[in-house]
């Protein structure tokens, strides 16, 4: 049939396939970050939860300062501190059930520890004695991910697999504002939405990717506005308000567990310390900004709420701080011991079975080490 012949039959009509599949309105974030502390919503918060969050925040801050101190003593190769971001770190761990999974980025040691991983094992990567120091299956915590955004598709695949197996598992994946620019962020969110995988994406927007401020990272109204483009809800929360972060994440986790699919949560926070101990933040930001954020400190916010509502007293605060000091002391002591090292580990886990080539290389290193040891003995004698 030619174009001319078809003419009679033709009736103008909208494109046949057109039907928006999801209503965009409920996917859009609110204009302001959600807050609980200092607002009416705080009255509804569970006092026990608030106290638990508080204790964890204080522990977390102390962990950060202790770990940073350990870099100065050469006991850690590097430490990316989450000081100022403890509310996100702690809430991310506490909103999950035991059989859920956490996918941390390299900055999220605190969340890993809050989830139950041994505080020294959690530092293995940054200490430099191995890559991942904990068994990911023990507490269902994926390895700290250094390549940015790459752990997000892992979280999606794991959550999807669990759902296929009929398991009631939610995966929570953590990422920074900078990481949202990576292609893997995009691909992960899209897979999650298409598969309706039970995943919660937590973006800690701490204002910087090393030296690059958010304004050079995105022109979006907010990072949470990315969600609608995948067909998932986007939520915006005050990342220094532990009660708010816990609530928003908790809602998202429940939503995912109930089969509602993924959520993108943007927590607005700030990196108080430099990017890592090796970074010099004065090169790219002023004190005023940092001071403004210090006045919005997550521990202070929660402490004030607890104090004003009579949920904690000076003793309670002192106890939290003492517990934190005790934790720091234990950490110091353990970290001041040399890490056990076995060079043969280099070959043991590359494959299920070392290849013949790796065995040869292992033998060569073993011989070298033996020669070294003999030479040293010789010198010692």
């Amino acid at each position: 049939m030619t174009v001319m012949e078809q003419r009679g039959a033709y009736r103008p009509s909208p494109p046949p396939a057109w039907q928006p599949r999801t209503d965009p309105a409920p996917l859009l974030p609110d204009a302001e970050p959600y807050r609980v502390l200092g607002t009416e919503a705080a009255a509804k918060a569970d006092p026990e939860l608030l106290r638990r969050l508080y204790a964890q925040l204080v522990l977390g801050r102390r962990y950060n300062t202790q770990a940073t101190a350990l870099t100065k003593q050469g006991r850690l190769a590097v430490y990316p501190s989450s000081t100022g971001q403890e509310a996100c770190e702690v809430a991310a761990a506490l909103c999950l059930q035991e059989h859920d999974w956490l996918f941390p980025s390299y900055r999220d040691t605190l969340a890993v520890v809050a989830r139950g991983v041994d505080p020294v094992e959690a530092l293995t990567l940054l200490r430099g004695n191995w890559h991942t120091g904990y068994d990911p299956y023990e507490h269902r915590v994926a390895p700290l991910s250094t390549p940015l955004a790459t752990q997000l598709p892992h979280a999606v695949g794991l959550a999807h697999a669990a759902r296929l197996k009929g398991d009631d598992v939610v995966a929570l994946a953590m990422i920074g504002d900078g990481g949202t620019s990576e292609g893997d962020f995009h691909e992960a969110l899209n897979f999650a939405a298409v598969w309706q995988a039970p995943v919660v994406f937590l973006v800690q927007n701490n204002g910087f990717a090393i030296s690059v401020p958010l304004a050079k990272q995105t022109a979006a109204p907010s990072l949470a506005h990315k969600a609608v483009g995948y067909g998932m809800p986007g939520r915006l929360v005050d990342g220094n308000d532990a009660a708010a972060v816990h609530e928003v994440l908790g809602d998202a986790v429940r939503h995912a567990r109930a089969g509602g699919g993924p959520t993108l949560v943007e927590a607005v926070t700030y990196r108080i310390d430099a990017h890592t101990n090796a970074d010099d933040a004065t090169r790219y930001r002023g004190d005023a900004e940092v001071e403004a954020w210090r006045a919005h400190d997550p521990i202070q916010l929660l402490e004030r709420e607890l104090t004003e509502r009579g949920l904690i007293d000076e003793d309670g605060i002192a106890t939290a701080r003492e517990d934190a000091e005790a934790m720091a002391a234990r950490l110091r002591e353990r970290m001041n011991q040399d890490a056990p090292l076995d060079p043969m580990d280099l070959f043991a886990h590359v494959y299920a079975e070392p290849t013949p080539q790796l065995r040869e290389q292992q033998d060569r290193l073993r011989a070298e080490l033996q020669a070294e040891a003999e030479a040293e003995e010789g010198t010692a004698r």
């Binding site: 890559h131 390549p147 790459t150 892992h154 296929l164 897979f191």
Partner: protein
Amino acid sequence: MTTVALKPATMAQALTRALRDAMADDPAVHVLGEDVGTLGGVFRITDGLAKEFGDDRCTDTPLAEAGILGTAVGMAMYGLRPVVEMQFDAFAYPAFEQLASHVAKMRNRTRGKMPLPITIRIPYGGGIGGVEHHSDSSEAYYMATPGLHVVTPATVADAYGLLRAAIASDDPVVFLEPKRLYWSKDSWNPDEPQTVEPLGRAVVRRTGTSATLITYGPSVPVCLEAAEAARAEGWDLEVVDLRSLVPFDDETVCASVRRTGRAVVVHEAGSFGGPGGEIAARVTERCFHHLEAPVLRVAGFDIPYPPPMLERHHLPGVDRILDAVARLQWEAES
């Protein structure tokens, strides 16, 4: 017991059968990739799997290779055995970071706690008239990445046996499918119990005494043809099919070269920085005093893969192989 006669089958059929059997044997095996479901893949290797096992076992993914491999990592973390299809060689590159930084390293990173039994199927190589990005031989990239197995079949039976072995492996395997052999036929009976080949073992496809052709994948039939042609010139060539590039079967290869004293490595991939350099170097290290001549290489040129109308000039053919054999310093013997 009646013996079933062998019927001619294509490599594509053997691969499909291997996937099917693996999925039937183990519910943890999941296939995912672009167009692998309803369509059965652009080469039809996954044909029928979605129908037989459901969309959740054989899944059409969104169009994003890093996403495919990245989610496969997550699935493997949860105990599944994902088999990922990359649609063409060059379209695996977007997944390179996931491959190099996670797939290859996760077991080592976690001291063996978190192995990733992922099979990454990649149709590779040229000879089918594909436009650019559809004919790359990218094996050098994977060989240079510790933590990966790199496997490639050259026969119908090996296509089945090696793919089963790859899926059964607790390590990630880059499974390179020579796309121009998809429709190559062989006598093979899918209804007989099949051998699951061990990974890491080369085979001598043709015995000979004058020199060894070391090759793999799409170049194996070419080398066998060259060996036939060489008889006219008085050379009796041995042909070794590597099958597994990683781990490398030094034993089989070196035994052959020590016997013949001469060797040519043949592959489609570019010569410079390609697999042939590694192979020639390691054979020379191990067989130096048995060699009558340097190990030569017959490979693709060091150029981007040519357009369809020029690819015949690029691909190593019988003449180029015989030329190299002729340069193996035979005069030294007389």
